[in-house]
Amino acid sequence: MGVTIDVRVAAVRELAPDVRELTLTPLNGTPLPAFSPGSHVVVHVPGERTRRNPYSLACAPWSTDAYRIAVRRLDDGRGGSRAVHEHVGEGDVLAIEPPRNLFAPVVGARRHLLVAGGIGITPFVSYAHQLVADGVPFELHHAPTGGPLADELAALCPGAVHAHAGRDELMAAVEAALDAQPLGTHLSVCGPPAMMEAVCDAARRHGWPGSRVHLERFVLDTGPMDPFAVRLARSGREIAVGEDESLLEALEAAGVDVPYLCRQGICGECRLGLLEGTPDHRDIFLTADERAAGTAIMPCVSRCAGDGPLVLDLA
């Protein structure tokens, strides 16, 4: 599973009725690693079974004495974020993995247009700190209005942060902003899937090529979490995947090490060979051809269509 860093939950604050912010400080005074804007950490969330959930770091990239993450309570059967809300309190010790980045600002961008929906504002906290420090111009549009993180950003960069009451107001502002950006601007978007799709669609209609549009898929549509079985082809082992865990988590719990980065079906790191069975692909990494071939699966998010078993090319 790689190195972990033990941190103390120094403070817990309610950002919204269903969003809780944790301030994480190092245990023994050794500074935490500095990170690049847009980075996340994987938090090992205690509970009946340990979860490993990715959260964006919502603080300045040079904030090495304390990290902040915002956790939204999701009642979709994935126990991780619920466990944070129910079981994690001030003073607790958590293990986190060192920061990684799948959403770094484009190097050489002369201006940034940032669009956030809901808790999708979190990666832009580190962006804003860095861009202000570097003197790179940007504008951030987010909805809904209010919230401590948004207020903090508005204070950090007055004039660059635009709060909108709801989705319609946000989209109207984004449509206008898309027509008013000088060459050299890049667009970065983070939020719920439907909102990100709407922004991507607007960008295309306004003539933005895909290479200028960057997405942090924060909340994936997960779909139902039905249990199923897998078999490891090379050892013949059978492993049951429960309704409250991912295939990756079930493999980890059974002591099978699978490399991963994002745990969100984006990066491709966890790809496994699939020998038999009908997968229910939920990642956004595999191409349509690869899906059709049915010979690979991303276990961090994808499941089985039916009871299985899926036969994996693993020992």
Binding site: L178, D179, A180, Q181, P182, L183, H206, G207
Partner: protein
């Protein structure tokens, strides 16, 4: 003689051809001369383009200057279409990238002569309109061998002194980019 520059590892410019990008909301055309490729593009624009199409006219230098000026005031959503002689096309692409366009926003077609601009790795001068595999540098007079290595920064192909190892041993120039 080799310089560790192999064909597989070099970045040679590719020219996808002037095809209208129907998603763009503004189309800027730099073509010297404006030939059949531009006529085709205009026809496509009349059929399914939205947003204005502007053709920059004049000689190469005038068009490049006008291009830089237009792009300085342009917004994201613009596509640049470039056609003409190889050297001009490369220089116009450089102007576009410098102005903040990304490669996907520039469509190119070489339709007026393949003569290359060559950057001398010794004196740094650029020799324009090179048609032969070996040619004298306009800056220092060395005989340069033109390599399959394109420098985006200089918008020119790299040239190395051909007789650096055995002075005076100069192969017969071969016309290749007429």
């Amino acid at each position: 003689m080799t310089y560790g520059v192999s064909l597989e590892h070099t970045t040679l410019p590719k020219d996808p051809g002037l095809r209208l990008d129907p998603d763009a909301r503004e189309h800027l055309v730099a073509a010297v001369p404006a030939g059949p490729a531009v006529r085709r593009l205009r026809a496509e624009h009349a059929r399914d383009g939205h947003g204005p199409l502007t053709l920059l006219e004049g000689d190469e230098d005038a068009v490049l200057a006008a291009l830089a000026e237009r792009l300085a005031a342009a917004g994201v959503g613009l596509r640049l279409y470039v056609a003409g002689a190889e050297g001009f096309v490369r220089r116009a692409v450089r102007v576009g990238l410098d102005a903040g366009l990304v490669a996907d926003e520039i469509l190119t077609e070489v339709d007026a002569g393949a003569a290359r601009d060559v950057w001398c790795s010794h004196c740094k001068a650029i020799t324009r309109g090179v048609t032969t595999t070996v040619a004298p540098c306009a800056g220092c007079g060395r005989m340069l061998e033109v390599f399959h290595h394109f420098s985006r920064r200089h918008a020119a192909y790299m040239g190395f002194q051909v007789d650096a190892e055995v002075p005076g041993e100069i192969p017969e120039p071969e016309v290749r980019w007429a």
